[in-house]
């Protein structure tokens, strides 16, 4: 039996959109999202909510190889998004950082004329908390924000610094843990990381 998406697409996707917009405008804020969904495992509920809300037939979606075909079928059927042939062609990318590596430079960074044509990476993680493992600052953050995300690749801080250096080009990240999400847009600078 196929898994269902939003029971009320209009209002539930608006709620999810609002949640993603708040997360993006206040980086590091952890918000609940997609609690009513039951996507095929290992797709997290908040990841399903974000992609069902944002992806459509005009936004190629790249799904990391660690996800089974059922996840791709579910997202294709409910969002209508085509599969991107390569990460660099994707408008959205879905990864599970417990199983997949992360190389921000592989994704679309946008062009000088159209910086918005970059990849928004939806990354599933196992830990998402407000503990001060990462401290960052930037637009939308009063002072500093803190976030504990795990697992992250060992060179994540260097990768993020490189992503930040290319501003206004660069990727945006949405971290997902089950039915919670937090965003790290390209405008945010990581002040300090534990590793």
């Amino acid at each position: 039996m196929s898994a269902l998406a939003f029971a009320d697409p209009t209002f539930e996707s608006q709620t999810a959109f609002r949640c993603i917009m708040r997360a993006m405008s206040a980086p590091g804020t952890i918000l609940a999202c997609g609690e009513a969904l039951a996507p095929p495992p290992p797709l997290a509920r908040a990841a399903a909510a974000a992609l069902l809300t944002l992806a459509d037939f005009e936004t190629p979606l790249w799904i990391a190889p660690s996800f089974p075909a059922a996840v791709g079928d579910y997202l294709a059927f409910h969002s209508g998004a085509p599969r991107a042939a390569a990460p660099g062609k994707a408008a959205f990318a879905l990864l599970d950082l417990s199983a997949d590596g992360l190389d921000l430079a592989r994704f679309a960074l946008g062009t000088a004329e159209y910086p918005d044509r970059s990849t928004t990476i939806v990354a599933q993680v196992s830990t998402l908390a407000a503990d001060p493992r990462l401290r960052f600052s930037g637009p939308g953050i009063k002072g500093e924000a803190t976030l504990d995300v795990a697992p992250l690749p060992t060179n994540f801080l260097a990768q993020w610094a490189a992503n930040r250096a290319g501003f206004p080009l660069g990727v945006d990240l949405i971290f997902i843990a089950d039915a919670r999400l937090a965003a790290l847009p390209r405008s945010t600078a990581i002040v300090e990381g534990a590793r």
Binding site: S2, A7, F57, E58, P60, P82
Partner: protein, 163 residues
């Protein structure tokens, strides 16, 4: 719709696709009771469930002057879409003109039943054939009514030619 970004190219036309296109086209033009009655009689326990909530929306209709001119936007039409799944796994789709959600759902159920080998024959006989016959009768009636008003123009011999 932009098809350039689609993951798969345009489907190759196969007899199966052509047959389903014909079935779905007939279902799209069915009356509500042409679908409801056979389902209630023959498949009362179809147990189809909605994969997506039945939705109404607008589609832009495009026209071409004379059939081959430059395309232009003619206007919008209300369209209702339904997607259902049978317990045996067949997915039925329906797009119909108008806002009749119940009819769209019934058409999707019939499409799913048509996909199931065991019930395709009955769907053809009990649902599709009556619809096709009604449509053919309506078309014949319109043609006959139009033919009755037909006027043949011809030119009488003109003065200068008679000389």
């Amino acid at each position: 719709m932009n098809t350039k970004g689609a993951a798969t190219g345009p489907l190759t036309e196969t007899p199966e696709i052509a047959a389903r296109r014909r079935a779905m086209a007939l279902l799209a033009r069915a009356h509500g009771d042409e679908l409801a009655e056979p389902i209630a009689k023959r498949w009362p326990d179809h147990d189809a469930r909605d994969l997506k909530p039945v939705e109404s929306g607008l589609v832009m209709l495009r026209g071409r002057i004379g059939g081959d001119g430059a395309p232009f936007n003619l206007g919008e039409a209300a369209v209702t879409r339904a997607v259902v799944e049978l317990p045996s796994g067949e997915r039925g789709f329906a797009h119909i003109l108008g806002r009749d959600a119940k009819k769209a759902r019934l058409a999707a159920i019939v499409d799913a039943l048509w996909l199931r080998e065991a019930s395709r024959g009955d769907v053809e006989m009990m649902v599709l054939t009556p619809i096709a016959e009604r449509l053919a009768a309506e078309a014949a009636k319109t043609r006959a009514e139009t033919a009755a008003t037909r006027v043949d123009f011809f030119t009488l011999v003109r003065g200068e030619d008679a000389a």
